[in-house]
Amino acid sequence: MELVKKIFAVREFTIFLVLIVLMLFLGITAKGFLSVANIFTIILNVSFIGVMACGMTMVIITGGIDLSVGSILGLSGVVMGLLMHDFGVHPLASVLSGFLVGVLCGLVNGFLITKIKIPPFISTLGMLSIARGLAYVLSGGWPISPFPQSFTIQGQGMVGPIPVPVLYFAGVAIIAYIFLRYTIVGRRIYATGGNLEAAKLVGIKTDRILMLVYIINGLLAAFAGFLMTAWLGVAQANAGQGYELDVIAATVIGGTSLQGGEGTILGTVIGAIIMGVLRNGLILLGVSSFWQQVAIGSVIIIAVAFDQLRGGKES
């Protein structure tokens, strides 16, 4: 009884329940939904969004937001692609350079937010535009390919039945989980988002925390760019366009509050998977693409409403 109560009390529980109900429903109604291959396809499909959502969770916990993730994904993919393809740089070095681009973008975001005090929404909106523009400038709008196999295998390879990007996603999620949940810095991230002034007063260098969080987020967006480029086998300037809303949605569905101070990686991962399950399940159900949009919107609302109703009881 105690255990049951405890499980119910875990913040992620309701949203997990939503996922289970959804999966059961689809498992019964949609042909092929519960096959191993399909489950991994779903996770593969959300792995890009999922990786970014891990970073976004931290950003949102600090009370911020990062709209530039989709653009950073595109830009870093283009940089990796160009280095490998046009300049013959070694894949590993190219990927690392791509990561560096992500880190730099995050650094600029962090700098604008902490030093110039531009609200996160605006600084990252500016970065959205700038990074996307640079991706176009660098690539001239043309797709970049092909790449060496040692690179594409990172996106297209399989380990047993598991696509490689799924493994990367799992790795990122686990590290992020431990980082946020168990380390001192993780705690300080929560404190900074919970009450910036109070955090400052206990000697937390909130500026550094914010910097760090935007840098991690930029890095993870670049990481998603790496995964997506390797998976698709082509780098495109418009990759990841509009993903920011999906990433934020996954995060918020997972229980992270846009007010800051609250949220977990576990919830975010579940949120991302819900989005993937929905997209996949509706296709398997044979729902028309136009109605799919209506259905996705409705389910997102219902999922969070359900979570809210439980949360409401608590207070």
Partner: protein, 497 residues
Amino acid sequence: MKPLLRVIEVTKEFPGVKALSNVSIDFYPGEVHAIVGENGAGKSTLMKIIAGVYKPTSGKIIFDDKECEWKHPSEAIKEGIVTIFQELSVMENLSVAENLFLGSEPKMGSFVKFGKLYTSAKEFLKEFDLRINPNEKLGKFTLGIQQMVEIARATYKESRVIIMDEPTSSLPQKDVAKLFEVIKHLKEKGVTIIFISHRLEEIFEIADKVSILRDGELIETREISNVTIDEVVEMMVGRKIENFYIKKTHKIGNVVLKVEQLSGDVFEDVSFEVREGEILGFSGLIGAGRTEIMETIIGLRKKKSGQIYIDNEETEIKNPLDAMKLGIGMVPEDRKRKGLILIHSVKDNITLPSLDKLKKFVFVNEKSERELTKWAIDTFNIKTPSMNRKVKFLSGGNQQKVVVAKWVALKPKILILDEPTRGIDVGAKTEIYELISDLANQGMAIIMISSDLPEILQISDRIAVMAYGHLTGILSSKEANQEKIMKLATQKEKIYV
């Protein structure tokens, strides 16, 4: 006479807590009815039920012979029940004038009459002796002023019942006196006042009746004229409190903090020093600048000029982290804004400043974390169902204990306490005094700001008095008394604009 407002067998349950059980009280027109009880006894909860914020789990509220089931606070207000809540309800983004008249703005059709709004605001502020510009945003002012504005707003409204939940918690005597005048005036008009305070002297000065709550139950309602302070305290705590805090003398050592000719935005040329094992009290009127001095010392505000010495070494403190590294900690006055992370648990709040001490490699050592929290909950008698309870669900006084606890747990070399006993009940106050005194005995240097004169007199080794941004004098505890302090506190003219 018939009661105007009747609370009948009201019970209120929150998950894990029964805040009120079967409470019945009658309130008559024109009386000042005090409610007392320990922190977490259920006072605020009862008030919120009367004001239509919470619905009772069972029981009813009868007002003017009608049973009321408020769905929204506005319905209670419409009936003439106006409340000053313990947690201030002011809008920092609106001007002082707009705050004063919020909900009852002078209007013409659906438009606000701004001219009238500001002129009446000015008169009103004068009446309350608040020398502030009504056009300024209220957020710019300190807690004391915000509290005065909130009081002013409540008394302005046409009302039949005014509930005051700890209106005086951060007010110094002068303003309390002002408030009492207003209360007397309202009483003459037949308004019922429900008054909550942890300063029992105030109760005996102003109230006609007192109701005592303990653990959510009504102990008794008594005429104030046939009850004594000791009896009230006994009923509150459920046992006799023998040993009120008795001042101890501490071994006073070297100077640890010395401030010389410090100037900031609203204070000028302030010099003082504190020694190991010493408790330096800071007294003064609202807005005297005490908070700002301390915030300047710990690097939260920029200083204009002056020097700060720690252990006789001149130091530059640019931010609170520098201050912490030098061993200075500060319990802020505004717990909601600066002291607590309301949406985090009791545990996370208490251990936050001490995380560096609790680490295992880069990780938090959760075991020592729990031990520390347990120590704090026991020491400060924090009433919470579990250490994982979010702070926002605690009663005001218990929240205050969490703020004090989190800093004491860190054991800094110099501890600055800004109104640390704001909203804390008598019993717990005594314990906190003991604790502060013990800390001093262990060699900690303590600065304590308080607007509560008896408290300051009781606990301090020396008392610094501020008036309008100037340090007007430092008295030793032997020579200090209320008159002398008041005189120093009103000495200078204001320096701020």
